[in-house]
Structure formats: structure tokens, C-alpha cells
């Protein structure tokens, strides 16, 4: 029954729950808690259902193709170790959901909380179940991202935002290091598949890439598990709501680092370098975290440093290169999750019921909440390593391992037991501080709220977890043993050592160390109690360096540096930017010129050199003069510039005719007309620029700039001319044109090759291009809806004062009649051009422009109101129709089982007309026609309408 098909469901269930939360109302606290609870409980049930299989050593897996070309599959894989983590993630997840139902205020946007919480659970499951390292990194980064949102849940609180940002930056940069390490690992092994990586430990350790890969992966793990020197983010993350801390910072997110170290232990561990990095980082964290924890006044801060310290303990164990130590590490992962989650929840209850988490203000809560207090005391004792509780067992194993270690540095081996003893004593001291500070002593005074026991079900998760602590501590072999065996076996495989879980091993050195730590811790707490009571906010003996402050300063410096760099190298002004772009382009081309030299083609092929034609040269003399004159006139004489540029355009058009491109010539001519109309319509809104004689000094100052621009322009022109000449005079390499020419008729069914290319061979490109046209039209239309002309040009132009619209109508009386009569002719011409386009010059683009010009002429002859009262011009409808028609023609091929835009020629026999060839691309071209017509009309008419609106506004004033 429990097949691998349930694995995707396991990950999908929380995601579905998270998505479902989006549909709840903001204050739907109960409904949302039910949903989240059901999802996590169902996930927990699935996980539990897998136990019979994985406890037999089976690995349940399922594979999907992800990026098959790169050899990547999306695989979920559950072995014993993944199972243990999935159990923690879903089990503690469920308990925290229950707790959060009571913890979260009805005023908080609770659906967002639960949605993120479930999403986080899904990402966690993704990491622990990943069967592929890239997939693992992906989910790893997702946990960073979602935890950012969870820590910053109360985003009105600056500390929460700061903590969230810090956590995100530290853990996601660690994730990047991890990705780099994983890529190296994949290069060594040749596969990202977890099973192959785990099986090639010797290959990995002997590779020259081992050291960088290992260090990068360890950095990823250390950042995630808040290990020295990256530990500082965790205390700042305590600004999160307590359920988030109870989950992320005890059982879930911070455990991922040690999860990864244990997961890859068979592949990476066993070298001195591993011991030096992992072991040392863990040891420093273990001691440092425990020491700092003693001096925290915030309950959650104390727990945060204690978490850092306990994760350090696990890291040390993993870094000892001993399989027994790894067993202890895995055992402690479980134990720490149980007692730390319950302690965070207890701290949350204290906060919730009293209104403060400050140990200096809290006292004597035992009398007010005896049940919670008892549970918290038991959990804290487990944290301290008191016998009969689970923490004692794993700590005892650690002491035993610390005694037997043999690393490359003998003095460190000898020191380790003493360091362990000291850190153990620190652990006892901060646990005592937690217990005595909060629950014993005189009744508290001046608390924001009068404390009392929390609701029944808010307490339940703590009670359950504490019960587990006790049961595991007393009868480990009956309870946790099968579970631990399963997990350990999955990590170590055949190398699994035989180990003993027992409360009583007889009188031996580890027991003496435990006792020493307890006594030492109590004594330390006594000695320090006066100092702690004084409320000084500083950790003694350590330099007053806070990683968080260093981090913020670095971040600030980076930000300032970026701003300075931007101020130095950046500009918001357009001209320098364009100058740079042009200069870089010229330089890039010049490199090629200089490198390869320049010479015109040999002209050996008679085909490539056309005869000199003085008429043609003369035409371009005019065209070039027009261009130069337009460039000069554009500053003050805009109308002249438009006309002159039109001249250059016409000569371009003649060039197209001259050199066998009738379709281009037609299109250029028509576009020339609409562009001129467009610019003339636009000019009306651009106030006149009066030429002025600049001061002599100003002109002199502008001289270098203009000289530079002139040089750039000359370089561009000269370079392009040289390039064009060189390539035109060379023999043409055989291009795909041959293909088009040879197949235009046989496969495209048309004799106009250009049109066949447009609508058939490259129909998809054309579809994209007309889409661009439609987008430009709509963008322009929506820009014009909110168009506010400049105040100077709002009034009707001076020409209209003497010349009213009535006068205009009078002037156009005779031409107007002719123009109106021309409309049907234009329409027929457009239709003709459209119909013949496949075989002769014409086609959708040309026909659309022609009919658009026909309409524009009617606007000119009759005026906007006259035309629109008689004729419903709906450019947007035309555009939509055209785009849909073109796309539908393409999609029509699907109906017959062909790819998109496959063309087909239909042979119809019409009585009287004879045989008619109707290619499907004709419909496509008709779509192009409708769209070009609509877009052109839309652009021109929308701009023309502004004049009407302007008049109206003017009259209303």
C-alpha cells in the first residue's frame, strides 16, 4: 500500500495546504489552523506508514524527468535517515501548528502565517527527500527564502526585518557556496545522483577537487546550522514569532546543516581536512554558544545560543571521523529537536501569558503555571544532560567519544575531554538560569499581564515532547532504538558500529564527566548569580565584537561603495549613455577592421559588380543632401526636417525599386506616407523652438562635445559604408536563400518568394512581428488616454485662429469630393494587393498600410467628426481580429495533426472562375492585413483625437 507514489504526495500535501490558505479570509484563524493541522497530520501519517519499509533497510524512491538533457532528474528518495528527518519535520510541524493556533493573535494575518509555515514544511521535506544534489540545493535555497518571510512575519517590526534580512543573506550565500561545492562534487563523481555520490567516497577523497568541494559544502552547512563564524544570524532571527523559532530554529531549518554533513558523511568525512574544518568549527561553536547563552537575559536569546551550542556539539561529533560519534550525532539531532522545540514553546507561553521574556523581570512563575513550569523544567534538564532524560544519553556518548579521539593534533586530542567538560558545565549553568530565572524565586511584580496556565491544547505539544524526552531517557532501547538503528544504518551502511543505548554503563569516566559537568555547572551558576542579577548586558571575557554588527557594517559599506561607484560611473543622462554605446560599438568594430584590414572585394565575379549609373548616383546625391539637411534642420525647423527626411526615405524607396525589391519599395513608400502623417500630427503638440544666438562662451564650451559627437557620427557612417562596400563587392556565400527560391512554388504555392518567406517559411517570425506591432499600438493608445500636452501647446495653434475648421472644409470642397471618391478605389486596390501578394508584389503588410492610408485620407477630407459619425472605425477590433485570425490559421494545422503554422494549398474549382488555388497562408496574410490596418489606424487616429480633446478642454476653460 505504501508505494513510492506517496512520496510526491508527501511533498505536495503541504504545498496544497499553503495554496489553499490563499483563499481564506485574513482573520480565518480556526479554519486555517484546521487546514494546516490536517495537512501536517496527514503528512505525518504518510511518513509513519513508510516505517515498516525503511526499517527493513529499503530505499523508497521515485524519479521524474526534470532536465533530461543535463542528466538531471527530479527524484524523491526516502531511506532511514531521510525518514527520521521527515518524521521530525512533520511531527514537530504538526505540534507547532497546534501550538500556533493559540499563540497567534486573532489580529495577525494568520492565513499568511500558516501558508508560509506549510510551504516551509514542503521545502524541508524536499531537502531531506531529495535524491539528487542539485534538487537538494534548490529546496535548500527555498527554505532560506521561506524562512526569510517567516522571520519577517511581523514586518512592521524593524528588528524582525533586520533579523530576516540577515538570516536570508547569510544562509542563502551559504547556499550558493553549497551549490558551487555540489557542482564540484558532481564533476568529480560524474553524477548528481545522491546514491552514486555516496557510493564514491574514495573517489571523492582522492580527487584534487576534494578540498575546495568539501570546504564549500561545509560553508553551506555551517551557515545553515548557525555555526561559528556564521552563528550570529540565529539570535537575531529570534524576532520571529515563537512558533517559527520552535520549528525552524530547533527541529527544521538549522538542522539542515548537520543533516547535510551527516548525509554526505560517507562521501566526505574521514580526512584530516574534514576533521580540521568541521570538528574545529563545531568545537568553537559548542563552547562559545554555551558560554554566551549563560549571559542572555532574553529567554529566546538564551535558547538561541543554546541551540547554536548544541548544533556545535552535533557538528563536533560529525567531525570526529568516527562512526560511533556519528551515531551519537544522529541521536542528538533527535533529542535536541524534542527538548528544544518544547523549550521554545514554553518560552513562548511565558511571553504570551506575562508579556515579557526578560529573565530579569520574570520570577516565580511556578506558582502561576505549575504544569507548564514542570514541563519546561524537565525539558531544560534534558538540555543540561540530567540523567533519566534523553539529553543525558547523547551527551554521555559524546563524552565517551571525546575521550577516545585521535586526530592529527595530539594536544587537541588531550584537551578535548576538558573542553567538553567545560562546555557541559556551561550548559548546566544556562539551563539552571532558564529554570530558576523564570520559574523560581519570589512572585513577579510589575509584569504587563497577570500570568496563568495557557489553554489546554496550547500546552499539549510541550507535554507530549517532554514525555518523549523522559521515555527515551528511561527506556531508550524500547523506544528510540529501532528508529535510531534505521537512521544510522541508512547513513553508515555496512560501516554501522555496534553501539549501546543504556542509562547505566557502570562507573566510568564519561559518568564522572557528566557528574563533573553537573556539579561544575551548579557551582558556576552560584558564582555568577550576583553578576547575572545585576543585569549587565555584556558577555564577560569575550571581546565586545558582535557578528551581527560586523555584518551590518559590512553591508552598509558595500551599499555605500555601490552608491559611490554609481555616482562615479553612472549617469541618468541619456546623451552620455548613448555616446558610450555608440563609442563601444565603433571600438568593437574597429578592432576587427584593424585586426583583419579592409579592402574591397576583387570583383572577380561579374555578378557582384553592377555598372556605374549616373542617374542612380544623382538620385543619391539628392537623397544624401536631404539626409544632411534634415540633420541640420531638426534642431529648429522641424517641419522642414520631416519633409527632408521623407526625401531621404523616397530615395531609399527608389533604391529598392532599382535593385529588384518591389515589395520593399511598396512598403517603404506607404510607411513613408504614414510616418509623415504621424510626425505632422505629433508636431502640433511640440511647442515651437525659437532659434537663438547662443553666447559666444557657450558655443565655445559646447565645441569639444559637438566635435566628439561629430567624430563618432563620422566613424559610424564611414565604418558602415566601408563594411557595406566590402561585403557587397565580395562573392556571396551560399545562404539558405537557395532553399527558399527552390521551394517557394513547389512547397509554398506562391511565386513571390519574399511573400512566401513571410507568410509560410518564416510565418512564426511574422506572427511575432505583428504581435509586436499590436503591443506597440496598444501601448501607444493607453499612453494617449492619459496624455497631458504641454501647457504652451494646449491652445489651438495660431494657424487655426485665422483658419477655422469651416474654412478648411471650404478649402477642401473640390479635393474633398475627389478624396471621398478615391476611398472605394483605395479599398479595391488594397484588396487587390492582398489577394495577389502571394504571387506578385503586395501582401498583407502592403495592403493593410494602403487601406489605412485610405482611411486617413477620409479623415483629412471630412474631419474626424464627420467621418466617425458615418463610419465606425474600430482599430482595436481590427487588430484583435487580425491577430486571432493569424494565430488561428497557425493553430488550424494542429487539427490535421501537423505542427503549428503548417501551410496547405486548397484547390477549389469555382464555376465561371475556373480553378482557384487557396493556400491556407492566405488566411494568415489576411490576419496580417487586418492587424497592420488596425495598428496603423489606431496610432494615427488616437493621436489625431487629441486635437479634439484639446479643443474640448479649451472650450471648457
Amino acid at each position: 500500500m505504501f508505494g513510492s507514489s506517496l512520496l510526491p504526495l508527501l511533498v505536495a500535501l503541504p504545498i496544497a495546504g499553503a495554496a489553499g490558505a490563499l483563499f481564506f479570509r485574513v482573520n480565518a484563524r480556526n479554519a486555517e489552523a484546521w487546514l494546516a493541522g490536517t495537512c501536517s497530520l496527514a503528512a505525518l501519517a504518510i511518513v509513519l506508514g513508510f516505517f515498516p519499509q525503511v526499517s527493513q533497510g529499503a530505499v523508497v524512491g521515485v524519479d521524474f524527468d526534470w532536465m533530461p538533457a543535463l542528466g538531471l532528474s527530479f527524484s524523491l528518495r526516502m531511506d532511514g535517515f531521510a525518514w527520521m528527518f521527515a518524521l521530525m519535520v512533520t511531527g514537530i510541524g504538526f505540534l507547532v501548528v497546534l501550538y500556533a493556533r493559540y499563540y497567534m493573535s486573532a489580529r495577525d494575518p494568520v492565513p499568511r502565517f500558516f501558508a508560509l509555515f506549510l510551504a516551509f514544511m514542503a521545502c524541508m521535506l524536499g531537502v531531506v527527500l531529495a535524491g539528487n544534489l542539485i534538487e537538494l540545493v534548490l529546496f535548500w535555497e527555498l527554505t532560506s527564502l521561506v524562512s526569510f518571510l517567516l522571520i519577517g512575519y511581523w514586518h512592521h517590526n524593524p528588528a524582525a526585518r533586520r533579523g530576516a534580512r540577515m538570516a536570508l543573506i547569510v544562509t542563502s550565500s551559504g547556499g550558493l557556496a553549497l551549490l558551487a561545492g555540489v557542482l564540484l562534487l558532481g564533476r568529480i563523481v560524474g553524477s548528481y545522483d545522491l546514491d552514486s555520490v555516496l557510493a564514491s567516497g574514495d573517489l571523492i577523497r582522492s580527487s584534487p577537487l576534494y578540498l575546495p568541494a568539501m570546504i564549500l559544502i561545509v560553508i553551506g552547512a555551517l551557515t545553515k546550522s548557525a555555526q561559528f563564524p556564521f552563528h550570529f544570524w540565529l539570535p537575531h532571527a529570534m524576532a520571529a514569532p515563537t512558533p517559527v523559532s520552535a520549528y525552524l530554529h530547533s527541529a527544521a531549518m538549522v538542522k539542515l546543516g548537520v543533516f547535510l554533513l551527516a548525509r554526505l558523511w560517507p562521501a566526505l568525512a574521514g580526512t584530516d581536512a574534514w576533521m580540521a574544518t568541521v570538528g574545529l568549527a563545531g568545537l568553537v561553536t559548542f563552547v562559545l554558544g554555551a558560554f554566551i547563552a549563560i549571559f542572555q537575559h532574553d529567554l529566546k536569546g538564551l535558547l538561541a545560543y543554546s541551540t547554536i551550542s548544541h548544533l556545535g556539539l552535533i557538528t563536533v561529533l560529525l567531525g570526529l571521523n568516527s562512526s560511533l560519534a556519528t551515531v551519537a550525532a544522529i541521536f542528538h539531532m533527535l533529542n535536541h529537536a524534542t527538548f528544544k522545540a518544547s523549550l521554545f514553546m514554553a518560552a513562548g507561553i511565558v511571553d504570551h501569558e506575562t508579556g515579557t521574556r526578560d529573565i530579569r523581570r520574570l520570577s516565580g512563575l511556578f506558582g502561576f503555571m505549575p504544569i507548564t513550569a514542570t514541563a519546561a523544567i524537565v525539558a531544560a534538564s534534558a538540555m543540561a544532560g540530567v540523567p533519566l532524560l534523553n539529553g543525558f544519553l547523547s551527551k554521555e556518548m559524546f563524552f565517551a567519544e571525546a575521550l577516545g579521539v585521535s586526530g592529527p593534533l595530539p594536544f587537541l586530542d588531550r584537551a578535548l575531554p576538558w573542553v567538553a567538560l567545560g562546555a557541559g558545565a556551561f550548559g548546566v549553568a544556562y539551563s539552571l538560569r532558564f529554570i530558576i530565572g523564570a520559574f523560581f524565586g519570589p512572585a513577579p511584580a510589575g509584569l504587563p499581564r497577570t500570568p496563568h496556565e495557557p489553554p489546554r491544547w496550547m500546552r499539549f505539544p510541550i507535554e507530549l515532547l517532554v514525555l518523549i524526552c523522559v521515555v527515551v531517557g528511561v527506556v531508550p532501547n524500547l523506544t528510540v532504538r529501532p528508529l535510531l538503528d534505521t537512521a544510522v544504518h541508512a547513513v553508515l551502511g555496512a560501516a554501522t558500529p555496534s553501539y549501546e543505548l543504556a542509562l547505566w554503563h557502570g562507573f566510568n569516566i564519561p559518568l564522572a564527566m557528566s557528574a563533573g559537568a553537573l556539579v561544575g555547572g551548579i557551582a558556576l551558576y552560584r558564582v555568577l548569580s550576583w553578576r547575572l542579577a545585576s543585569g549587565v548586558d555584556r558577555v564577560p571575557l569575550l571581546p565586545p565584537v558582535d557578528g551581527g554588527i560586523v555584518f551590518e557594517r559590512t553591508l552598509d559599506a558595500a551599499r555605500r561603495g555601490a552608491r559611490r561607484l554609481e555616482g562615479w560611473a553612472g549617469t541618468r543622462r541619456l546623451q552620455p549613455q548613448l555616446r558610450w554605446i555608440v563609442a563601444v560599438a565603433v571600438a568593437a568594430a574597429a578592432v576587427s577592421f584593424l585586426h583583419h584590414g579592409w579592402w574591397p572585394g576583387s570583383g572577380a565575379q561579374p555578378l557582384r559588380a553592377t555598372a556605374y549609373d549616373s542617374m542612380f548616383a544623382l538620385t543619391w546625391l539628392i537623397g544624401g543632401s536631404c539626409a544632411v539637411a534634415a540633420a541640420i534642420a531638426a534642431k529648429f525647423h522641424r517641419l522642414a526636417a520631416v519633409v527632408l527626411a521623407g526625401g531621404a526615405g523616397l530615395v531609399t524607396c527608389i533604391t529598392f525599386v532599382w535593385f529588384s525589391a518591389p515589395d520593399l519599395a511598396l512598403t517603404q513608400l506607404l510607411v513613408e506616407i504614414v510616418t509623415t502623417v504621424l510626425l505632422l500630427l505629433g508636431l502640433r503638440w511640440l511647442p515651437k523652438r525659437v532659434p537663438f544666438a547662443p553666447a559666444r562662451s557657450g558655443a565655445l564650451a559646447a565645441l569639444p562635445r559637438r566635435g566628439m559627437d561629430f567624430a563618432l557620427a563620422a566613424a559610424v557612417g564611414g565604418g558602415l559604408a566601408a563594411l557595406a562596400h566590402a561585403s557587397m563587392t565580395r562573392p556571396l556565400a551560399d545562404s539558405i536563400s537557395r532553399f527558399f527560391v527552390e521551394r517557394a512554388y513547389s512547397e509554398g504555392g506562391g511565386t513571390n518568394v519574399v511573400n512566401v518567406i513571410l507568410v509560410d517559411f518564416r510565418g512564426f517570425d511574422t506572427l511575432g512581428e505583428i504581435t509586436v506591432l499590436a503591443v506597440a499600438g496598444v501601448a501607444l493608445y493607453s499612453l494617449l488616454r492619459r496624455f497631458r500636452p504641454s501647457p504652451e501647446s494646449a491652445a489651438p495653434p495660431s494657424q487655426q485662429h485665422r483658419h477655422t475648421p469651416a474654412d478648411a472644409a471650404n478649402d477642401l470642397r473640390v479635393p474633398g469630393v475627389i478624396m471621398r471618391l478615391m476611398f472605394p478605389v483605395t479599398a479595391v486596390l488594397a484588396l487587390y494587393l492582398l489577394l495577389r501578394g502571394h504571387d506578385l508584389p503586395g501582401g498583407g503588410f502592403v495592403a493593410g498600410l494602403t487601406l489605412a492610408i485610405g482611411f486617413i485620407v477620409q479623415y483629412m477630407a471630412g474631419g474626424t467628426r464627420w467621418l466617425e459619425a458615418r463610419f465606425d472605425v474600430r482599430p482595436i477590433r481590427w487588430m484583435a481580429f487580425g491577430l486571432l485570425l493569424a494565430a488561428a490559421t497557425g493553430a488550424g494545422a494542429w487539427l490535421f495533426g501537423y505542427p503549428f503554422l503548417t501551410s496547405h494549398v486548397l484547390h477549389l474549382f469555382l464555376p465561371g472562375l475556373g480553378e482557384l488555388e487557396l493556400p491556407s497562408v492566405f488566411l494568415f496574410d489576411a490576419g496580417v492585413f487586418a492587424l497592420v490596418l488596425g495598428a496603423t489606424l489606431l496610432m494615427l487616429v488616437a493621436l489625431a483625437h487629441q486635437s479634439l480633446r484639446g479643443d474640448r478642454q479649451q472650450r471648457n476653460l
Binding site: A627, V628, A631, T675, A713, L720, A724, M728, D839
Partner: protein, 115 residues
């Protein structure tokens, strides 16, 4: 020899276009872009070589020797480019008019040069 004429034409159009592109007034930039698009269209077009009296039409029947016809591929590329450059000119004109209305100046930066 017409190659030289066309090459010079492309050079003049591109030079004038670039010069206008670097000017401070929006209208100059619009005119510059339109001159540049002439130059670029001609440049792409001439990559297929210059041939008179050889328009790319094939007879209905067996295909002719492609070497005898003008190259249809650059023509197809340029045809849509012409139409799209019109659309871009239109959009740019509207943007500059709106900017003129908002900022009260036709300088490309939306404010007069301080220098």
C-alpha cells in the same frame, strides 16, 4: 560601381542618424532614429548583393537557378523591419510628447542641461 554609391548612401544616412541620436532634443533623436533605420534597412538589404531586373519571382513550375534572382531573404527581413520601425517611431513620438507635457522641456533628460 553602384555598390560604392549605396555604401556612401548608407554611410551618410548612418552618420546623420548617429549625429542626431546624440543631440539633446527629443525631436532630433526621433529624426535620428528614423534616418538610422533607413541606413540599417539598406545595409541589411545590400547584404544580398545588388541586382537590377531580377526581382525574386519564380515561375509557376520548376524553380529557376537561384543565382539569377535577387536574394529574397534580406528583403523579407527588411520588409517587416520597415513596418516595425514605423510602430517604434510612433511610440517614441507619443512618449516624447507625453514627456514634454510632464516635464515642460523637450530635452531628452526631462530637464534642461545645467551646464
Amino acid at each position: 560601381m553602384s555598390e560604392l554609391v549605396v555604401a556612401l548612401a548608407i554611410g551618410v544616412l548612418a552618420g546623420c542618424g548617429t549625429w542626431l541620436l546624440l543631440r539633446p532634443r527629443t525631436f532630433q533623436v526621433v529624426m535620428g532614429l528614423s534616418l538610422l533605420s533607413y541606413a540599417v534597412n539598406l545595409f541589411i538589404f545590400c547584404m544580398g548583393g545588388l541586382r537590377s531586373h531580377a526581382a525574386p519571382f519564380v515561375p509557376a513550375g520548376p524553380p529557376p537557378d537561384p543565382a539569377l534572382l535577387a536574394d529574397p531573404l534580406p528583403q523579407a527581413l527588411v520588409l517587416t523591419a520597415i513596418v516595425i520601425s514605423f510602430a517604434m517611431t510612433a511610440l517614441l513620438v507619443i512618449v516624447l510628447l507625453a514627456a514634454r507635457g510632464l516635464s515642460g522641456t523637450d530635452h531628452v533628460d526631462g530637464r534642461e542641461d545645467e551646464r
